[in-house]
């Protein structure tokens, strides 16, 4: 409704606007036009006046041009004779004179009348309408002339039926008072008329004092009356025979003010009336068609302003059209929108009701104003039973308290509440748990007018959650149990592993210790004893050499035996643990071992070492044993011709590298014993906090790298 009014207003405003635009444009145009027109009219009037005057002058002079020739003609002696004595001879002479004048003046006819008005000689005497013998005494020009006054006269010829201008002049004999006759020159009006401007927008009339039009460039008006003529006058005119037989109808022209006239057709004219010289009472009437004047004014104006006005009009029209169109479009869109809005509202209402969710709205007093079908379905009520009732009526007591004390006041303040846990009481008394969320719908004053609330039945969910919680608790108890057990087992296992490692470490340590002890025992004790024995036997030999060569021989072989035994004992001891390692350290031990290795295996064994600081016994043992094991492997499996043992000190890290050029191996194809050997080496490396890295590939040789801190990472092992 409101919108419609707005639409109307919009349209009206548009209309008025466009109208105002048009009006102002046209007013401006009009003012411009009228001012132009006014000045044009003034100009036209001025021109017309000038023109009229010019025409009048022309006409006057034209209609007077034969006055003097008529006097000359009248003065000719031949006419005297003819008038006194009209015989053939004198007539011939008179006629010749008339012919001569007629030709030279280029007039219609020249003729001579006697004192009674009879034409006795004429230049047209041989024409069918000859004047000769005709009496024109009724003509005023004759009457005036015979009384001694020359006259001019305009009339339709009675005989010739041609309009003409008559110039009469009395023929006087010297000394005589009364004229003897009259000469007349009649000139054609045709020439005069031809001299007039062509009939178009200006009409030139020559009218007699009664208003009869005698000369005109507008033929239709000839012999009509300019003004209404009375019957009396008509009969007078008719009697004068001046203008034929009449009926000299009125052309219907009426004066309008001083300067204007209107004809029967409604054409307006600018009118000028001027007296014709030498023709008393006659007037030259000049009519200028106003339409033409307007045309003259508006023509160029239209030509100039036309396109501008047109363009302006088109522009304005287009703008108006566009605006209107736009407005219309907007209106159409608004209507569509309104329709859509209505439909949407309808749809939403339908959605509201049909949504499978518990929706409701309450007003500010907490009364239900709408509920969804689902709400009713769940709660077991009919719509009429609940609308208008307080929402809290359907709440459990706790919920009611919650709502009234906390939720409602808060909601009507903030306009929102979320996931409020309520309990609804169904019609059948059953209680359901819901989560209620709502937003406030605000009125124009931004006050909350009603709520839009959705309640989710979470009874099942709550139950499930409860069950889940219990299950989870159970599960977590179980898992904790399990974790505990796993932890226990892990602890046990790791302690076993630790024990194993320690055992393995201590086993190695003990082994080394034992070996060392045995080696020392063998070397020092047995070796020393054997050495002492040898000394004695050598002494013995030298004693017996002289006295008992046989015994000496025996002692000698005994000596050899002792030597061999010493050698064996030494070898045994060294294999168990080289004394060099304990007494001189790793570098010497490896130097000795590599030379020994070369000697034993025939494999070129290069030993290189940088400047080594003190190395703890444990680390030295580990490195030595790893080198030993590696070289043993090289000798046994590698089929190498060359092996390099490199000992380096890299930032307090001992780095031992053993590289051979043998056949190499693929780690997972290694025989069990060799694998065990590798495991042992790794174990040794780990025990001193080192890392063992074995790189190999078929045909690529083997590279064993040991990296271990100089001071031995772990305490007390080996």
């Amino acid at each position: 409704m409101e919108n419609k009014i707005k639409d109307m207003k919009l349209r009206l405003i548009l209309l008025i606007l466009s109208l105002l635009t048009f009006l102002s444009a046209s007013t401006g145009g009009y003012i411009y036009y009228s001012s132009l027109k006014k000045s044009a009219f003034q100009e036209a009037e001025r021109q017309a006046a000038a023109h009229a005057k010019l025409i009048k002058e022309n006409l006057s002079s034209f209609l007077s041009e034969n006055i003097k020739p008529s006097k000359t003609l009248a003065g000719m002696d031949e006419f005297h004779a003819t008038l006194i004595k009209p015989n053939n001879n004198s007539l011939a002479k008179a006629n010749a004179m008339l012919d001569h004048f007629n030709t030279s003046l280029n007039t219609d006819v020249c003729y001579l009348m006697d004192k009674d008005g009879n034409t006795i000689a004429s230049s047209n005497r041989k024409d069918p309408d000859s004047f000769v013998g005709k009496n024109f005494s009724f003509r005023p020009y004759f009457n005036k002339a015979i009384q001694g006054t020359p006259a001019t006269y305009l009339a339709l010829g009675v005989t010739s039926d041609k309009r003409g201008v008559y110039y009469s002049y009395p023929v006087n004999k010297k000394g005589q008072k009364h004229p003897m006759g009259v000469v007349v020159i009649k000139a054609s009006i045709g020439l005069v008329e031809k001299g007039l401007p062509p009939f178009s927008d200006e009409i030139v009339l020559v009218v007699n004092p009664d208003g009869i039009i005698f000369i005109s460039n507008y033929k239709a008006w000839l012999f009509h009356s300019l003004w209404k003529v009375s019957q009396e006058e008509i009969s007078r005119i008719s009697a004068s025979l001046q203008f034929g037989k009449g009926p000299w109808n009125w052309i219907g022209l009426k004066m309008k003010g001083d300067k204007y006239a209107v004809d029967l057709k409604g054409n307006q004219y600018l009118i000028h009336r001027l007296p014709l010289n030498n023709y008393p009472g006659w007037r030259v009437v000049y009519l200028r068609n106003l339409k033409a004047v307007s045309k003259i004014v508006s023509g160029p104006l239209i030509k100039i302003t036309g396109p501008i006005v047109l363009t302006l009009c088109v522009c304005v029209g287009f703008a108006v059209f566009l605006l209107y169109k736009k407005a219309s479009n907007e209106i159409v869109q608004r209507k569509l929108f309104e329709k859509a809005l209505q439909e949407s509202e309808k749809r939403y209402r339908s959605i509201y009701h049909n949504t499978p969710a518990m929706l409701h709205s309450i007003d500010t007093k907490g009364r239900l104003i709408s509920v969804s079908d689902n709400w009713l379905e769940v709660m077991g009520y009919e719509r009429e039973e609940v609308i208008g009732e307080k929402l809290t009526q359907f709440f459990s007591e706790n919920s009611r308290n919650l709502a009234e004390t906390t939720v409602f006041p808060n909601f009507f303040k903030t306009g929102i509440c979320k996931d409020i846990p309520y309990q609804f009481v169904k019609k059948n008394g059953e209680i359901i748990d819901v989560m209620l969320s709502a937003i406030g719908d605000r009125d124009d004053k931004d006050n909350i007018a009603r709520s839009l609330a959705v309640s989710i039945d979470v009874t099942e969910r709550n139950r499930a959650e409860e069950a889940l919680k219990i299950a989870k608790k159970e599960l977590s108890r179980h898992s904790k149990d399990l974790e505990h057990q796993v932890e226990q087992r892990t602890k046990e296992i790791s302690s076993i592993l630790d024990q194993l490692r320690r055992l393995s470490g201590s086993m190695m340590t003990n082994q080394e210790k034992e070996r060392s002890a045995i080696a020392r025992e063998l070397h020092d004790e047995l070796g020393q004893v054997l050495t002492a024995l040898r000394m004695d036997s050598v002494w013995l030999r030298s004693r017996l050499k002289q006295t008992d060569p046989k015994a000496a021989q025996r002692v000698c072989s005994m000596c050899d035996l002792i030597d061999k035994t010493i050698e064996e004992v030494r070898g045994l001891a060294v294999r168990l643990r080289p004394g060099v390692l304990d007494n001189l350290g790793l570098v010497d031990a490896l130097e000795w071992y590599t030379v020994d290795f070369e000697k034993r295996t025939g494999i070129t064994c290069m030993f290189e070492h940088g400047n080594m600081p003190h190395i703890t016994n444990t680390v030295a043992t580990a490195a030595y044993r790893i080198a030993q094991e590696t070289l043993t492997n090289v000798a046994r499996h590698a089929d190498a011709s060359r092996v390099d043992v490199i000992l380096q000190n890299e930032r307090n890290m001992l780095k031992l590298t053993v590289v051979d050029n043998g056949c190499g191996f693929i780690s997972n194809e290694v025989s069990e014993t060799k694998a065990l050997g590798l495991v042992g080496m790794r174990e040794r490396a780990t025990l001193v906090g080192g890392v063992l890295d074995v790189q190999s590939g078929v045909g690529m040789g083997t590279r064993v790298n040991l990296k271990v801190p100089m001071d031995g990472h772990r305490r007390g092992v080996i």
Binding site: D524, Q528, A532, R570, V595, M606
Partner: protein, 212 residues
């Protein structure tokens, strides 16, 4: 009479050695010690002309004893006596200040000779030990980086090659294969940036590995 101090932790060995020494008329064992500490005490007490010391003894080993004795009696010649036949010991012993070196095995034949020699102011070394010592000394003189980069075995091979020994001879003397000797040789040439044995010889002479 040459007064000899015997230090060995084995009494039977000591007894054997005493017999060996006392076989000759010009020397006598004036003191015996069963460990390093006692050896030094005895030295202070008896002022021997020559000390024969076992390299491995409890309570201060032989090398320690040598350096201690050296500090008190720089002119006391010491002979190291050892069960160990590894050449590494020789070098250490000589470095520590011993004038002679003997394995116990060779004692019956060489001890008396050795005592006399060191008493006379000479070193008593086996050929091998002498060589090692020479090389060590050569290397120890004034930080020659090129020589430092060589291992003992390489030095040995260098010396032999410089002396004009053939590969076979070298292999035999060190109980290694000819091929190994060749490997050492090519390694030496590469490390020292030399081209042939003649240049090797010149290098050895310049660096006093051999006498010109």
């Amino acid at each position: 009479m040459i007064k000899v101090l015997l230090a060995d932790d084995h009494s039977i060995v000591r007894a054997g050695l005493r017999r060996l020494v006392e076989e000759s008329k010009d020397m006598e064992v004036i003191a015996e010690a069963a460990d390093g500490r006692k050896a030094i005490q005895q030295a202070h007490k008896t002022r021997p002309d020559v000390a024969v010391v076992d390299i491995s003894m409890p309570d201060m080993d032989g090398l320690e004893v040598i350096s201690q004795l050296q500090s008190f009696y720089p002119k006391l010649p010491i002979i190291i006596l050892t069960m160990y036949e590894e050449e590494q010991y020789v070098v250490r012993a000589i470095e520590a200040g011993a004038m002679g070196y003997l394995t116990k095995r060779s004692a019956p034949e060489q001890l008396v000779k050795a005592i006399r020699k060191v008493y006379a102011g000479y070193r008593y070394l086996t050929d091998e030990a002498a060589e090692l010592l020479a090389l060590r000394v050569a290397r120890g003189v004034g930080g020659k980086s090129l020589l430092d980069s060589l291992s003992m075995r390489e030095l040995q091979v260098l010396r032999r090659l410089a002396l004009g020994h053939t590969n076979r001879e070298i292999a035999e003397s060190y109980h290694i294969s000819i091929k190994t000797v060749d490997t050492y040789r090519s390694r030496l040439l590469k490390k020292l940036d030399l081209r042939n044995n003649a240049e090797l010889s010149r290098f050895a002479i310049q660096n006093r590995i051999i006498e010109a």
